[in-house]
Symmetry: C2
Subunit: 347 residues, 2 copies
């Protein structure tokens, strides 16, 4: 274990903050980097250097409740570079909600999500550590728990996934189809993203809502109606799916990106809920935080057993690029889970 | 049993129809009475004469899906005046979804709701038969099943009921408070209706949304947050309640009257659903149709045991007045369950 006295250099963290109240889709000028001096470690603390930072749409919803000037929250995988905490030894890779920042002094406490050293198969690089922010992190966990704990679909039933080319949606669609045996229909914005889903994940029943009528296509793929809906989008698309659902259908409400940049959040049609006696359940993966490692092991076994297609996150380079990547999430251009690589020389 | 040949007179039914597509709150001129000749009964049929017709807001939502010229649907209690069906003998009172009409030839089949001879304690007038459209009919059943099967609140927890002076809401509030032991807060439009709830049903924590700020009052009555919401209103009021709910709260979606007369139905904020991990369940009482008599007996026992305040429906006189009473539902003036009395000389 290194002692802080071994490093006489003054360390500074770079931290992305919200310099203005976001209006609609944020603009680059709404973000500002501040520099924070890193104090010497105290007993129980360790210093974590960001390696990958996750770019998540729901952060936009959270920022509405933060004061201007706040550091932007977010999850990262960081490397422990100094430590006075034996549970977080130097060289280990750590998952934590440290925010959009380069260096973090931490005690290993649970923040908005659990802080932990990555499982062995990530830490020893049997699988690249960035998977700890995609299949083996919150996106994979959201897909897994949303299906196995919220929707619990039966084999052969019809399940729709929105944002099927997105970080959560593609895993949800694959688990539903390949592990749980559902008839899966995915909704995405554009044809090229539908093609990506087919090529990457074998999801071939897709609807491109910018080019196709969602209800018409759902009626084609699901003439007997939709039983389950895994929703990360909300709003108009969600209500189109609701209009095609069967009585007693169930909706797992994982996200509602369509409204994150609007003054009025995404809303769900109450008349459909009543007339079809639907069940809607909002969820966050932190509900099952005591079972995260069990679920991560399960998702890893799907990967090792080739039971689903896995692929690395989409990498964007550079700490400075985080706001651009975040803004892009709301322009419907991305496929897969986006993580920003923080170059090792950035401090 | 009378045979149709005993009644040589030609019988005609009067039937309220939708003569125009409703736009917003219906107008009197949107309704039109047609006259239908009643054919001679065939084996298995009986002739039912309307005694009380239930005036229900959700009919407005249904009419959007009916062709212009359709008979208006609705539930009534009718007296059997001729019969070739021994299960429906002359003199019995029948509950059935016969619509807004004076005479009906029926076979006792289930329509949108079950068709049945009223329980003995209504048929023998131990309790006035009109209770079969209020406490001992769909409104009471909706309150009962919505609480005991959907929300299942625990004693001491906080439950909000919207439209607490309405046909369903007042029973729901009373059952939640007096039978299930919840801390109950009722929302209604005006102070006079709040007073009615206090006088009639002992519900004294009420919010009059036309005079008071719903969120402010909820914070006052429920400083530790709302656990359950029995909703018949939807829209803005529902979303105000959601903003005061605790994590993992539950909403029983029984109705959404606030949107029935709008082009866009009432909608529920998906961001609240996600961030608080709420469960929303739409329901209709027909889900438990095999258990209606068990529930009606239970509700009757609450009445006999004086475990809650019961009171007759609000009576409006005259078959011709049905559209006026229906329109009034959307003006927020009513208290209690409204039924129209069809005078015995109307054929």
């Amino acid at each position: 274990m290194e002692s802080p006295s071994d490093s006489p250099k003054i360390l500074k963290a770079r931290v992305w903050t919200m310099s203005k109240r976001f209006v609609g889709i944020p603009e680059k000028s709404d973000f500002h980097i501040i520099v924070e001096r890193i104090p010497a470690l105290k007993t129980g603390e360790y210093l974590a250097k960001a390696v990958y930072i996750s770019i998540d749409p729901h952060i936009r919803a959270i920022t509405d409740e933060l004061p201007v000037g706040s550091a932007i929250p977010g999850i990262q995988i960081a490397s422990v570079v100094e430590s006075l905490n034996e549970k977080f030894p130097v060289g280990a890779y750590v998952h934590g909600a440290f925010g959009w920042r380069t260096l973090t002094v931490d005690k290993g406490q649970t923040r908005s999500v659990p802080t932990y050293v990555l499982p062995d198969y990530l830490n020893d690089k049997s699988m690249e550590v960035s998977y700890g922010l995609s299949l083996l992190g919150v996106p994979g966990l959201a897909a897994y728990f949303g299906l196995t704990e919220v929707l619990k679909p039966r084999r052969g039933e019809t399940l729709v996934v929105s944002s099927v080319a997105g970080g959560v949606g593609n895993f949800a669609a694959q688990i539903a189809k390949k592990i749980l045996g559902c008839n899966v229909i995915g909704i995405t914005s554009r044809d090229n993203k539908a093609k990506w889903c087919k090529d990457r994940g074998g999801i071939d029943q897709t609807i491109s809502y910018m080019d196709q009528d969602v209800v018409e296509q759902l009626n084609k793929f699901a003439p007997e109606g939709v039983d389950y809906y895994f929703d990360t989008v909300g709003g108009d698309i969600a209500n189109s799916v609701l209009s095609c659902m069967n009585d007693n259908g169930k909706i797992a409400q994982c996200g509602a990106i369509s409204g994150y940049c609007n003054d009025v959040p995404a809303h769900l049609n109450q008349l459909e809920i009543i007339e079809k006696e639907l069940k809607v359940e909002g969820f966050q993966v932190t509900r099952w935080k005591d079972r995260w490692f069990e679920a991560i092991d399960q998702l890893y076994s799907y990967h090792v057993g080739k039971r689903m297609s896995t692929y690395p996150p989409v990498y964007a380079a550079g700490f400075e690029s985080i706001p651009d990547e975040f803004i892009r999430l709301f322009r419907s251009f991305n496929v897969g889970k986006v993580v920003v690589i923080v170059p090792s020389n950035v401090l």
